[in-house]
């Protein structure tokens, strides 16, 4: 029989390192991709910080008033961010009020109750909901939700632009996000736990609510926080439907401008570059960035804890 040694290199092994060009190229490309995303982030933070610094260096502005005053009236040099923060928190709270219970409900239904057929039908629909452009949601709020609220609570109670309408529609926007992350968390709960509970004579509801839900709680908390950051940063819906004009009010039926809404209006307007007004939007942006960053770090911490549970 013929021997097989003719297909290989010399029989004496050569252990020297040889250059591998393709490996080097791929590694460099991957490094570049990673570096680029980090560099972009640094660039954004730098730019935000630089312009915000310009704003805070203006003699008319002081940091304490910026953080504590309830008046945002640039034309008389009053830069208190609380009306904007308040409006952002109101729309966000409204959105979470809708999205958390509904999202949890849908997720529990999908993961614990729905048959495969229903699940295969419902999940794509939710994904469609997630794919609708936010500007469409904005006009949905303005032309559907607002008239609806006005017909329920009265035209003199509900203003045309109001935070309730924007918040509720934002809740619908966030719903698929919270649902899918929550469902993932519920699905990650081992089936053996469900079996254990059923084996003790538990009902479906007891298994879902008292075993699966608590076991998935950190994943659900992460879902809620991601939804929260999304709601805080959401711009189009509030720009279209929540109202233009900083307004410090706790009445959800009155118009009030959110942080993002204000940034959009100012940057879209014909303000001269380098005016205080223009620079102020970077300060708002920076604060917004810090809020969402904090929430993201928080959610990462929670997700990490979540991973440890089933190690």
């Amino acid at each position: 029989m013929a021997t097989l040694n003719n297909g290989y290199r010399a029989s004496k092994p050569d252990l020297r390192r040889r250059p591998r060009l393709s490996e080097t190229i791929i590694q460099s490309l991957l490094f570049l991709a990673g570096f680029l995303s980090i560099f972009t982030t640094i660039g954004i933070v730098y730019e935000l910080g630089k312009e915000a610094l310009l704003f805070f260096q203006t003699p008319e502005v002081n940091l304490l008033a910026f953080l504590t005053s309830t008046q945002w009236q640039p034309h008389i040099n009053k830069f208190g961010i609380l009306p904007l923060v308040n409006a952002t928190l109101m729309t966000t709270a409204m959105a979470m009020l809708i999205a958390i219970p509904l999202g949890l409900g849908v997720a529990i239904y999908l993961s614990e109750y729905a048959s495969t057929r229903v699940r295969n039908l419902l999940k794509p629909i939710l994904e469609v909901l997630a794919g609708i452009p936010t500007i469409v949601y904005g006009y949905f709020a303005l032309t559907f939700m607002t008239p609806l609220l006005r017909s329920i609570f009265g035209r003199d109670v509900v203003e045309i632009y109001n935070t309730a309408s924007a918040g509720l529609v934002m809740g619908i926007l966030i719903l698929p996000l919270i649902t899918s992350m929550t469902e993932d968390a519920l699905n990650a709960v081992p089936h053996s736990l469900r079996a254990a509970a059923y084996g003790l004579g538990a009902t479906k509801l007891e298994v879902a609510v008292k075993i699966v839900l608590p076991a998935a709680i950190s994943g659900i908390a992460a879902a809620v926080i991601v939804g929260l950051s999304r709601a805080i940063g959401e711009t189009m819906i509030v720009a279209v439907a929540a109202g233009a004009g900083p307004n410090f009010t706790l009445n959800p039926f009155k118009g009030a401008e959110t942080m993002t809404g204000h940034i959009v209006r100012i940057s879209g307007g014909d303000l001269s570059y380098d005016s205080i007004d223009y620079n102020s939007i970077f300060a708002i942006g920076l604060l917004l960035f810090f809020i969402t960053l904090t929430l993201n770090i928080l959610s990462q911490q929670i997700v990490r804890r979540f991973r440890e549970v089933y190690e």
């Binding site: 059923y198 084996g199 003790l200 009902t203």
Partner: protein, 264 residues
């Protein structure tokens, strides 16, 4: 009205012409088997012959897999578990289960025990029930000082005894054990077997096992299952008798081959 229930007949469970299906596939064919009260009955046989499927059909756990169905009857103290008016939740309450892999809840040791009792509206002293159940499962001494720690922090063998204690806490009449020691080391296995011996004073135990020494050591009766030779590859029971007879003078050649280790 409910049928008269005798809870002191000789047999707790009477399996009559039971077949179990997954969709169109007949996994277990025509089993007849009587489970005697306060005895340990072992179900043995090679992998994939339907032992676990049969066990799960005894407390309707198999229904958690969509598409399962059964024909025939399982009488529990004379009452057919598969009668249309029977609630599987009530069945599993009376016929508990311990699984192959220890699966304590990610809750405290105390909560693991108390959970089942609580969902069934246990009104007595919970502390006592927890201690009683843990003592019955021979775990009390090892965990009495750390009842608030997670059940997952225990060793594998301890976790499995915790799962047994958890099953005992709802005070079932029958405990089904699906290879309860297969993921444990020999010492932990021995502990589980000793425990089973203690438990049969108060409970009836049905155990599926791969380990023939375990069946021989621990059980009073043994059911031998095997795939029938036909094209359907369905599992069925080929012999049932006292364990001593199954292991020394089996009637079926296949049983003899299996228990003497010639195949399986």
């Amino acid at each position: 009205m409910a049928q008269p229930v005798s809870s002191n007949g000789k047999y707790v469970l009477e399996v009559k012409n039971l077949s179990v299906f997954y969709g169109d596939f007949e996994a277990v064919t025509n089993v007849n088997l009587n489970i005697e009260r306060n005895k340990i009955t072992a179900i043995i046989g090679p992998s994939g012959c339907g032992k676990s499927t049969l066990l799960r059909a005894l407390n309707r756990m198999n229904e958690l897999v969509p598409g399962t169905g059964v024909s025939g009857e399982v009488l529990f103290n004379g009452q057919n578990l598969y009668a249309s008016h029977v609630d599987p939740v009530e069945v599993r309450y009376r016929i508990g289960m311990v699984f192959q892999k220890p699966n304590p809840f990610p809750k405290s040791i105390y909560e693991n025990i108390a959970w089942g009792a609580r969902i069934h509206g246990y009104k007595g002293n919970m502390d006592e029930l927890v201690e009683f159940s843990l003592r019955q499962a021979a775990l009390w001494e090892e965990v009495k000082d750390k009842l608030d720690q997670s059940g997952l922090a225990l060793s594998g063998g301890q976790q499995q005894r915790l799962c047994i204690a958890r099953a005992l806490a709802v005070q079932p009449q029958v405990i089904l054990m699906d290879e309860p020691a297969s993921s444990l080391d020999p010492l932990a296995t021995l502990k589980i077997e000793e425990l089973m011996h203690e438990l049969k004073k108060n409970y009836t135990i049905v155990i599926v096992t791969h380990n023939m020494q375990q069946a021989a050591r621990a059980s009073d009766y043994t059911a031998m299952m095997m795939l029938n030779g036909g094209e359907t590859r369905s599992g069925t029971m080929i012999e049932f008798n006292q364990t001593s007879i199954i292991f020394t003078r089996p009637k079926d050649k296949r049983t003899e081959g299996y228990v003497t280790g010639r195949f399986g």
